[in-house]
């Protein structure tokens, strides 16, 4: 289960530092008891707005993919980034596979606990599509903006 992190447009292997994890429920019940927590784990059936006030307490937020087909964490990540302005690490955990990596990056994930053995191919997967039609958390320039910027056809 290698850990990869996003650097520029590449995924690179990262050292797995030990984390002091706390779940969102436990944190909300009693923040003082978890003052030393370094990572917040949010299950995918919980609204991220519950933590909006305390986001600055965490450098790492872990979002869950119980199966890769369960896509709730994509929305959670975008909300954390775009609505609540979270700038720390958002890490994908669970059924995290190469073929979803691009979408995860677009939604604001920048760290990945890869399941499966093709983790190192994930970096190539990020480059498989050159453009995006729609804006998302990665700030990729949407196609319509590129169209506006291109020189008028001669």
């Amino acid at each position: 289960m290698p850990l990869l992190k996003l650097f520029g447009s590449d995924l690179v292997p990262a050292l797995e530092e030990p984390l002091q994890e706390v779940s969102l429920e436990d944190w909300c019940d009693n923040p003082q008891a978890h003052a030393d927590a370094t990572a917040l784990v949010i299950e995918n059936d919980i609204g991220v707005e519950h933590i909006a006030e305390d986001l600055s307490s965490f450098g790492i937020i872990i979002l869950m993919f119980p199966t890769f087909k369960d896509g709730r964490a994509y929305s959670q990540a975008r909300l954390l980034r775009e609505r609540f302005g979270y700038t720390g690490e958002i890490r994908a955990r669970g059924d995290v596979l190469r073929d979803q990596a691009l979408f995860m990056v677009r939604c604001g994930f920048d760290a990945f606990e890869f399941a499966g053995d093709d983790a190192f191919a994930a970096s190539t997967a990020l480059a498989e599509l050159s453009f995006a039609y729609q804006p998302a958390s990665d700030r990729a320039e949407p196609v319509w903006r590129r169209r506006l910027d291109r020189p008028a056809a001669a």
Partner: protein
């Protein structure tokens, strides 16, 4: 029609390359079938009863001649010489080999076609009115907005693993030919009191085992906000939709479980938070897309055609076809031609490569190079000069594409059923074939008038039986095939869900049942009532009686 620019072309090309890699990994064993499944589904590839099935997108049902020729080529080269138009305005090939699929996709990409998001739990190909751009009754061409949605929804990073598939339909007419009340989202372009055009937003319609008619959650959405509003609906659904039960995962369940008001509040709150973001397109981009849908250069023609009138008088068969299969065009001197893919005893929606080539030729010569696929599994030549109708009819007749039965009793929708589908209880196609044989008399069909029969081989309702004037549903009772009749459904602007009448019937009796129902209707209709009108006036009981009376 819309043409790809370098961005669209690059993305489709890259997608094919990506899928080629995924197929290679599957064939080499690097991917298990379980891992491969969602990837192939995102590319329209299903595993059916006997073989793979490839579903190719026909965005909002619009095709050029060149594209139709390519579809014919694919049918010839990689399939058994035919294709099958579906109720989603798409085309399916029932016999491709897995190794060939990347090549097929490459061939399709040459003509700006693809199979992206034609399956899987993502936003599917957007459907529309098959008469868009030609209909006399439309506010504007809805395909402009279909194309806007196509681009926004393509590879949407947040909405590719939704609880379930997601279908959007757009119309710009009072007469709903796109079944917008039966989609996850239906959009109707209309004018408000101030004379501005915008969308009525309808959410939560759908068929399947728990059918619902959609609810209007917004009467009027200014057009420029379309994408941010859709994004708000999709986000609420992605986060809140059920994922614990496949059959409760569609948005219709979410909308109806908590009530429309609660759902609407969630959407409006989400929309308020995102509407100022960059999601909505700037006017320049909308105008760029709109320009592709500029109407063709129609000639200045008299409203009536002398040639046509002369032929109409001379040939009864031609006159009948004109009455039944052609529709008023918005431009004087032109008509919309429906091509029936429902010949007597045929398989609804099936078309051979030779027929596809013929349709492509006719479109090139007589219909501004345009063809449409309809959700009722027929085709349309949208812009034919009245002067040309006779030759077009002759050419269609030679190809067995001129059966004058549009909207009539033999214009049946049938799902693939047990002939292809792994989920089926019963066969659908043979029932459709037998009904159409039983009612092969054209004069009788025309006298019966509009009558929509829809057949599904199981409760998943791909044949839309709930909204058939007469619906037929295949059920399995202790290993035996039975058919359940529903009555009174409609998928149009007067949308309603059919009611089940009585016990299931054997396949032989199901065909006879339709005959009895039709017989009862003909004896009891008033004036120009359609079957559905008579049913609504008299209620279910007399029809039930007619159906089950000692035979």
């Amino acid at each position: 029609m819309y043409r790809y620019d370098e961005f669209d072309a690059t993305l489709v090309g890259e997608r094919v390359a990506q899928f080629r890699g995924q197929v290679e990994r599957r064939l080499s064993g690097a991917l298990s079938e379980e891992q491969f499944k969602p990837l192939r589904l995102m590319n329209g590839l299903y595993l059916q009863l006997h073989a793979y099935m490839l579903r190719v997108a026909v965005p909002y049902g619009t095709l050029s001649s060149r594209q139709m020729r390519k579809l014919a080529y694919v049918a010839r080269k990689y399939d058994k010489g035919y294709g099958h138009f579906t109720t989603r305005q798409n085309i399916q090939y029932n016999w491709p080999a897995l190794v060939d699929v990347p090549d097929i996709l490459d061939d399709l990409a040459e003509v700006e076609m693809h199979a992206i998001q034609t399956s899987g739990n993502c936003i599917r190909n957007v459907t529309s009115d098959q008469y868009a751009g030609a209909a006399a009754d439309e506010v504007e061409d809805p395909r402009i907005w279909c194309e806007v949605i196509r681009q926004w929804s393509t590879f949407h990073p947040e909405f590719t693993y939704l609880p379930r598939k997601f279908k959007i339909a757009v119309t710009a007419s009072q007469n709903d030919r796109a079944a917008i009340r039966l989609h996850d989202i239906g959009l109707r372009i209309h004018k408000n009191d101030a004379g501005e055009t915008g969308f009525e937003v309808i959410v939560g319609g759908g068929l399947g085992r728990t059918p619902y008619i959609g609810h209007t959650i917004r009467e009027f959405l200014p057009k420029k906000h379309l994408l941010s509003y859709l994004e708000a609906v999709l986000r609420v659904y992605n986060l809140e939709g059920r994922r614990d039960n496949l059959y409760k995962a569609r948005i219709k369940i979410l909308v109806n479980a908590g009530g429309v008001e609660k759902f609407t509040d969630l959407v409006e709150a989400e929309w308020t938070a995102i509407r100022k973001s960059e999601i909505d397109l700037p006017t320049e981009e909308i105008e760029r897309i709109r320009a592709y849908f500029t109407p063709p250069d129609f000639e200045d023609l008299p409203a009536e055609s002398a040639v046509l009138e002369q032929k109409r008088k001379g040939e009864a068969a031609f006159a009948r076809w004109l009455r039944v299969n052609t529709v008023a065009h918005k431009t004087p001197g032109y008509a919309i031609v429906n091509i029936s893919l429902k010949p007597v005893g045929g398989i609804p929606g099936d078309i051979s490569d030779v027929q596809m080539e013929a349709v492509a030729d006719l479109a090139a010569q007589y219909s501004q190079d345009e063809i449409r696929a309809t959700h009722e599994q027929n085709l349309v030549l949208p812009h034919v000069k009245k002067d040309d109708l006779y030759v077009v009819w002759q050419a269609l007749t030679v190809q067995d594409l001129a059966t004058p039965n549009i909207r009539l009793v033999s214009d049946i929708i049938a799902c693939p059923g047990l002939d292809y589908c792994t989920l089926a209880n019963t066969r659908s196609i043979p029932i459709a074939q037998r009904i159409s044989e039983r009612f092969s008399d054209l004069e009788q069909q025309e006298d019966i008038g509009e009558l929509k029969i829809k057949i599904s081989g199981c409760i998943n309702a791909c044949g839309h039986h709930h909204v058939g004037h007469i619906g037929i549903l295949g059920v399995d009772k202790k290993g035996e095939e039975f058919y359940q009749i529903t009555l009174g459904g409609s998928g149009a602007e007067d949308a309603s869900l059919g009611e089940i009448v009585g016990r299931g019937l054997s396949s032989g009796d199901a065909v006879g049942a339709v005959e009895k129902l039709v017989h009862y209707y003909r004896n009891n209709r008033q004036d120009n009532e359609r079957f559905i009108d008579t049913y609504r006036r008299l209620g279910a009981d007399p029809f039930k009686e007619a159906l089950y009376a000692a035979a």
